[in-house]
């Protein structure tokens, strides 16, 4: 598979890992956060951490749109599909995520609700065209990678004056989430000679495909305002290792710049057309709850009034449902790198992928779920 296999060369990976080991300065700590859930999944699935020296610690960030979706908003969708008897189309990721009482879209389907899994929002549009007598709701989630397709479809729906289609919009934004993480970081001074303590993030591995849309320019504030290096990394193991090497070098040199490792798909400005269409269709919500992180300002999107007829929250009553996470849930600390998944009291006991108590466990690339699924054998060694 072209442009995938070359970036998965095992020999080169070992070589990069050896290089990283050589360039590490022994008295330094390198706490690197990969923001994107997809990176978390790739790192865990390929066992990348095993190749890294102990001084490099990877912190799994909150860039998982399924994980940060408030359970109250998911529950509202479950209630909607049962109450209004609409057809609800959803990406596969959401089907097993529990709402506020452990209910899921899949369980609602078992009770007779018309819930359908789709690969693409375009499939939902086609279903709406094919069933003019039914209303089709598309459950939209995702960061800036997934938002442009939703914008394309909403423009199409308006052009066609499609009367039986709407989008339940839960799209979220990457830069505001990065800001929120940086603002609450234990120390906001740049890396100095003394090693940073636990909880501090020394550098960021930036998202791959969000960046194809928003461009590298969108991350400049991380370097200029918060004095942290950020390297945009492609998805494959060689990309991640190369990006770690670039971060290690910046940290060693006390630099804080935005660098781009994923030059084959990411530019400075991103995809202008996608950005224009997103701006045409969506506006920024003043505030939005992120499960595990709390209310974040200007961090999520709503559909503009011009597209009101295709906004599920305007077509139907979708009342906000308040929900709070379990008392023992430590997701907030895990998401900031203060705790590792295995340090949470309920990890792999009361909280597991089958019974997730908090955001980090609800989706395959949440920090806790990824560790549970791919890496929990490491803690069991002495048992």
């Amino acid at each position: 598979m072209k442009y995938l296999d070359e970036f998965r060369d095992g020999r080169l990976a070992q070589g990069l890992a050896a290089r990283i080991r050589r360039e590490i300065e022994p008295e330094r700590r390198y706490a690197l956060m990969e923001f994107c859930g997809g990176h978390t999944h790739a790192i865990c699935r390929h066992g990348i951490e095993d190749l890294l020296p102990a001084e490099v610690r990877l912190i799994h960030g909150p860039g998982c749109p399924v994980c940060v979706l408030p359970s109250g908003r998911l529950q509202a969708a479950i209630n909607l599909v049962e109450r209004e008897r609409v057809m609800l189309c959803s990406y596969g990721d959401l089907l097993r995520v529990p709402g506020t009482q452990g209910d899921t879209l899949l369980k609602a389907k078992a009770r007779g609700a018309d819930v359908r899994m789709v690969y693409s929002i375009n499939d939902a549009l086609e279903i709406a065209r094919a069933h003019p007598d039914r209303h089709v709701v598309f459950f939209a989630i995702g960061f800036e990678t997934t938002t442009p397709p939703t914008a394309v479809v909403l423009r199409q729906a308006r052009r066609e004056k499609l009367g039986n289609f709407s989008v339940y919009c839960n799209h979220v934004l990457t830069p505001p989430a990065l800001r929120a993480l940086l603002a609450t970081d234990l120390s906001s001074s740049p890396q100095e000679a003394a090693p940073r303590g636990v909880g501090g993030v020394d550098g960021f591995i930036g998202p791959a495909h969000v960046s194809t849309v928003i461009g590298t320019r969108a991350y400049e504030f991380v370097a200029t305002e918060y004095r942290r290096p950020l390297v945009i990394a492609g998805f494959e193991p060689l990309d991640v290792l190369q990006s770690i090497l670039m971060l290690v070098r910046q940290i060693n040199a006390s630099e804080a710049r935005v660098e781009n490792e994923y030059t084959r798909a990411v530019g400075v400005d991103g995809n202008r057309k996608a950005q224009q269409w997103m701006d045409e269709v969506f506006e920024v919500r003043p505030s939005f709850e992120w499960r595990g992180l709390g209310e974040l300002p200007n961090s999520a999107l709503a559909i503009r009034p011009a597209f009101a007829d295709w906004d599920t929250e305007r077509r139907f009553a979708v009342p906000a449902i308040q929900a709070s996470d379990h008392k023992a849930c430590a997701c907030g600390e895990v998401l900031r790198g203060v705790k590792r998944p295995e340090e949470c009291k309920v990890f792999a006991s009361a909280c597991s992928p089958d019974h997730p108590l908090g955001s980090c466990m609800v989706s395959a690339e949440g920090a806790c779920a990824a560790h549970y699924h791919y890496g929990r054998f490491r803690q069991a060694v002495t048992a």
Binding site: M1, R22, G37, F143, T145, V152, H209, T263, N271
Partner: protein
Amino acid sequence: MCLAIPAQVIELVDIEHAVVDMGGVRKTISTALVDDLQIGDYVIVHVGYALNRLDPEEAAETLRLIAEFSEVANHEIPG
């Protein structure tokens, strides 16, 4: 949020759709977000949409850099 794969454009269906191929698997996708695609171009595909072009020269350059950094440390790999 990021599951996207590089695929090659093998057929232009209309102004907003193309057939892409990855590893022998083909799919018709939307090209609404990327203008002026040609047969043979590579794109990044996410949920049935092309998000951006993939630049083969940059890909080659990245691989070259990786190999360069990796090469120097090769003698440290045991066996």
